[in-house]
Amino acid sequence: MEQDRYVELAPDYALGLLEGEELETFERHLAAGCAACELELARMDSVGDALAYAVPLTPAPEHLRERVLAAVEADLAEEKARAKASSAPSQAPRPSHAPTIQPTYEPAPWPPPSAPAAAPKPPGFFSRLAPALAFAGILAAGLTGAYAYKLRQQLAYVRADLERVQSENQALARIMDVVNSPKLRIIALGGQAPSPTSQAHVLWSPESKKAVFYAYGLPAPAAGKDYQLWVIEGGTPRSEGVFPVDDQGKATHVLPEVPDPSAIGAFAVTLEPAGGVPQPTGPMYLLGAVSSKVN
């Protein structure tokens, strides 16, 4: 596509009208670094933002203000409560809805994981783009264009999340089954050499035989790679599938059939070729031994 043709697409992109191949082509063009398109996109974004002011002044209803502020206060209170709870690591974590749950917390193997907040963040889109922009010498204009691009990326994540959430209502119900189990067991996995600050938990419900795996602080896998979860029984690894990691380094994976973790020696996560492999070949990122002690 000629350069002029790319620049023509900027208004459509700003309005979210590009689709399919045209959208992909334009985004790839932006990612490769194009000062003219960045600038045009910044201009078009600003027109788009201004169009919001084409709406005559419509004050929000008063009760909405109360709702929003109350929601923020509730959020703040929850944050503080969570911060307090996590500052006492020797305490077993308790789900907030079921005070009668007594989970077994099994400490992770060496090295002890540090708080998730210390996990290395995967390089953001903007920091990858910044060197190209600097060299192009259009940092001022490029910043706003790249920012708009980043918003579009985030919009793509939000849309993907929306689709995923809509199709995973069942998975959510399964997760709640596990978490509400009175005899919940929690097995901790510690980060290994490639990522010592990663950590994970497997929450297992003896009643339903289901488990949920949560990981934190996992670095984004390289292109063409996936993280794969393994259950190690009698020394033999069995695959529980691959799972994606979000841009916060978090992952969730539901394990539908785990009869008894006492039969399991350990849970592990390795980095494998995309789609996974029958037996582990790649580096191990997380490992958690299951103790033989039962509740």
Partner: protein, 231 residues
């Protein structure tokens, strides 16, 4: 942290009203108004990041009309618009780190966020088979009587006037296409069908409309996105 509630009002600059020639809609102190508004918002966002709920309240007071109004225009339902506004401001509260004052004005970030989420809601309603009112272009008679929001920024008021004038200058065909694109969440082909116009013509009109708006809005367009005035 947190101190006394910041004053959400700004002194209104006694600038001239927009009586310049139609093809030159600039306000001499537009940049200054925008710059002041942006700086104040950026300051409030820094406080939000430090978990100052008062700062979020001030941002709500300053911008709730825009967020709610935009949501209502896109979703055509008061309950949905309220849910959206709550969604947006909670997102601002929870993900304050996503906003970087170096990269653009808060209002640009907020408006994009609002529109994107509104259109997502609209599309997910459609895909769930919920009946939504078909988007109808605004007719002059439907414009609401003059409303007031004393908490709004001076910049917002001036920008609203400038945008209304600019849209008035645009040819009807361009304005209608832009309106369907921006507020209707419709695709090119859906717009073409709605306007009973060939696809190529619709694409051209949208592009022309956007470019013309950029020219007409001049300094307002530049100021609404950039955190600092250009040299």
């Amino acid at each position: 942290m947190g101190g006394p509630l910041p004053d959400a009002h700004e002194a209104r600059s006694p600038g001239p009203t927009l009586s310049l020639p139609e093809d030159c809609l600039t306000l001499p102190n537009a940049r200054q108004l925008a710059s002041e508004a942006n700086a104040f918002d950026a300051d409030l966002m820094a406080r939000v990041r430090s978990r100052d709920a008062n700062a979020l309240r001030a941002l709500y007071d300053r911008h709730s009309s825009v967020v709610y109004g935009l949501g209502l225009k896109i979703l055509r339902d008061q309950t949905e618009a309220e849910d959206l506004a709550q969604d947006v401001f909670l997102h601002v509260w929870r993900r304050a780190e996503l906003f970087d004052a170096e990269r653009g004005a808060f209002i640009g970030w907020l408006v994009s966020l609002t529109r994107n989420r509104a259109i997502d809601r609209l599309r997910s309603q459609k895909s769930r088979g919920r009946k939504t009112e078909a988007y109808e272009l605004d007719r002059q008679a439907d414009v609401a009587p003059r409303a007031q929001d004393p908490n709004e920024t001076a910049f917002a008021g001036e920008l609203r006037m400038a945008v209304a004038k600019a849209l008035g200058v645009l040819p009807d065909v361009q304005r209608n296409a832009l309106e369907l694109a921006y507020f209707g969440g419709l695709s090119h082909s859906e717009i073409a069908e709605k306007l009973d116009t060939p696809l190529g013509t619709v694409k051209a009109r949208i592009r022309q409309g956007m470019l013309r708006m950029r020219d007409l809005l001049g300094e307002f367009a530049a100021a609404s996105v950039l955190a600092e005035p250009e040299e």
